[in-house]
Assembly symmetry: C3
Homo-oligomer: 203 residues x 3
């Protein structure tokens, strides 16, 4: 139940990030909906394929289909000013990363995999949809770019795994994990937390 | 039996579209064959992974391997004039989209998934190979571009699902679905049916 | 046992090729580690998904995670001169291709798939990680470029399959297969063995 709510919320914000990126790339209605759906459903499908869930849950539940289509169309009709599109993509992507990483980690734990496997599958679920979106638009995925990204997802996944080990109630732990991921990611973007690049790579 | 014929025909035309795109991108013989095979087999492999068929049928049957290799080499040796390459890629892609969407939807129904799951898996099978081809050549996939694409696949998938619900004979329904997809797609390309882009995105 | 050693060695050199490519693309520490891990683990994950191994072995064994992280960080701190980065990527990629193709083919045979299916899954395992690396950096994958690549992998896979059919001991056959792949690939790069491009494609 909690997982379904997290998943649906993550699907909505990832659909928004994909649709905003598509509007920014000047795709038409169809392209906006297809990219919104791919971004929204990609991470969950990769998670289910890795866990051996056939067919993936996101393809079996009509709500998982309706939410990204409606969200993408809403973004298309009501999209904000062009100048704010990039910020919107980044923010929606951060919220989606938080929700999907947490729900992916919890889903993997529920399937009885080891804790670090659950963290990795959760990270993959959180990162996958956005990476697909960027590759399809021929951009280098955010997860490879400057600001902290995979590490933020890992931190949230660890919260879920530790909470599970301590047998804490699932809902507050999941929310804490997601809030942690979004906070790290937004702070990293806002304060431009960068890691060093390799020495000897001149400009 | 019908599914195998549809699959093999789809593999041949998708191999042709991949090989033509590779010739256009000036890849050499090896690149042409590899891209032809990837385009031809990609959609079916994604379909089987989503349905939990291990290993994917396209990797188990030698005909599924021979057809794209021979097709790619034939395209390489006999390829049409350069000026027509783009049109050839688009046409072969449209026929492959029709055949693979229909065979993917029917395969999914035969595995007992819900009807809308079958439509989605069929669409993914039809769209997947061409999307791989375009991403590997660093182009934005056709499914995100201007003309009706995913919607054409959806229409054909719905035909197969409705025919299955009404217990109509499989072969004519499958052919009708594939013809519908190819017709919509060719008309959309020919008449340049475009959907609107978002307001406020100036030139 | 032998498979694990081959896999870990392949993971280390593929991590090095991904990390070097990331340094070359001026990614920061996080990007270098993420690309190193993706390149190192991608091929094995694709192999396990195709064989129906859930969750993939590379996500269940902590050594498979530690090796690429450490390798990527070492490459980041100790990376060679910029001028040699491209050569380093190519060489590490060749060794990884050899090790992963051989271990992938042997793993597939151990799961009882037909011989040509095993060859194909081995090739996919060997090619997959490097293709992911190149797509994420927006480069056309090496497997589509000029020098012999997929054919080198196929040759090594055939060695493993023939050795298996003749019931030869696994370790020397695997090493012979990997050495053959690396030798073909290095010779092809060094002597610039190219295949022809299609006629009629002017400059």
């Amino acid at each position: 139940m909690l997982l379904t709510v997290l998943d649906l919320a993550g699907i909505a914000v990832f659909a928004a990030s994909g649709a905003l990126a598509a509007v920014r790339a000047r795709l038409d209605t169809f392209g906006v909906v297809v990219l919104g759906m791919t971004t929204a459903l990609g991470g969950g499908i990769i998670r289910d394929v890795l866990l051996g869930i056939h067919p993936p849950a996101t393809l079996r539940d009509w709500r998982y289909l309706l939410v990204p289509v409606v969200t993408s169309l809403l973004v298309f009709w009501l999209h904000p000013q062009v100048a704010r599109l990039r910020r919107g993509v980044l923010l929606a992507d951060a919220v989606g990363l938080g929700l999907f990483t947490v729900s992916g980690t919890a889903t993997a734990l529920a399937h009885g995999v080891p804790t670090y496997t659950a963290c990795l599958i959760g990270m993959t679920a959180g990162i996958g949809g956005g990476a697909l979106r960027d590759v399809l638009l021929r951009e280098i995925p955010m997860v490879l770019r400057k600001e902290i990204y995979a590490l933020a997802a890992l931190a949230g996944g660890v919260v879920v795994v530790v909470g599970d080990q301590l047998r804490l109630p699932g809902a507050p732990v999941a929310i804490a994990g997601a809030v942690l991921i979004v906070t790290i990611r937004v702070l990293a973007l806002w304060r431009r937390w960068n890691a060093p690049v390799a020495r000897g790579i001149g400009t």
